[in-house]
Symmetry: C2
Subunit: 215 residues, 2 copies
């Protein structure tokens, strides 16, 4: 349905809209995206629990009350952020290329799409991947992540069935190791360096499917 790159561009555009300009808006306050960007950045830096509304207010150059005018509370910010992250991953599975062709090609497409979402929405996905599931909101996001993982595991199964992937390792273990590699990207990749998003995706696919050894 939605292209992950297009989704990321739209999100980036809305978040860079800034706090100036005060025209009327449909239903959302103007700069909730800016608040969310600041919040996610702080959540990743200090952890969700350790990030106080006061810190967010300070970074936004405003007061606690001003934030409470826009969102109903700290958990609201978390919910919005997690929805964006997991929504991006889910969108990959809805793309046409994830459903046509042989299983290995579909799996590689999903891997590439996941890498793109990780890079494009890096702070948001970082937040998602570090969840512990202590609140209802976090548990809902983790449940959606499990559903995503399950869909990928099915792809792995199909690729094994068609003879593309090795069958000597449990499919669940395979999926977890594969996404362990992919998800670790949020811990070190930063855009703007020598390694582009597409090159990173190429490398991940080369290592994961081809292995580290020279062939």
């Amino acid at each position: 349905m939605t292209d992950p790159a297009a989704t990321a561009e739209a999100a980036a555009a809305s978040s860079s809209r800034g706090r100036s300009g005060n025209g009327r808006v449909g239903r959302e306050p103007y700069d909730i995206a800016a608040v969310l960007d600041i919040a996610v950045s702080a959540f990743n830096e200090f952890g969700y629990d350790a990030t106080s509304i006061s810190i967010l207010a300070e970074r936004l150059g405003t007061s606690k009350s001003a934030i409470y005018y826009h969102v109903s509370g700290k958990e609201d910010l978390l919910r919005l952020a997690l929805d964006r992250a997991i929504g991006g991953l889910e969108a990959v599975l809805q793309l046409e290329e994830a459903s046509v062709g042989n299983a290995e090609a579909r799996l590689q497409f999903v891997v590439r799409g996941a890498v793109r979402v990780l890079v494009d929405d890096l702070p948001y996905v970082t937040l998602l991947l570090r969840l512990r599931g202590n609140t209802e909101i976090e548990r809902e996001a983790l449940e959606r992540r499990r559903t995503f993982d399950h869909a990928v595991a099915i792809l792995v199964d199909e690729a094994r069935a068609e003879g593309s992937l090795r069958a000597d390792i449990d499919a669940r273990t395979t999926t977890r190791l594969l996404f362990g590699m992919i998800n670790s990207i949020v811990d070190w990749y930063r855009s703007g360096g020598a390694l582009t998003r597409e090159q990173l995706a190429d490398d991940v696919i080369a290592v994961a499917f081809g292995g580290l050894e020279r062939r």
Copy 2:
């Protein structure tokens, strides 16, 4: 110098010593290991910041003051825990097998050793891997982790130089993807299941070095 398995066994023995028995001890209060086990478990469950001394006291069946008698504060518990985790990984590099033979064999030995430490000290390494570096203690642990990663990156370089590993992907990226896969183990592996520690290490090495594709 120290075998990681032996280290883990000693740690497990000391931590299971329990809180009974009140004989004299050399210099440490008797059950600091028990306090540490409880603390690390809680830190992983709620996050370090969100874990209060009150919670620890409750889980230990004692009072806050009793904990403060044993440790100087919450950060002290964190420091002890992180030292155990990173110490276990560093010990792998000191083993003889990490220094003899061809580079690929040495790299595979380090990978296997790291998996063993992750499994044997799972809660401790989990804590280490989720650090954000907001306190001096955390930054010191992260610095030691960087040194460890650097040593592994050198091994990767040597394995490439000897022609064992593929050279089309940056060595630093290779190392990060490799350890991304390894480190993800703490997010899903639980001992006691069908997958043993050594089988897991075999799978990691098979996937990382051989790739997912059928050969």
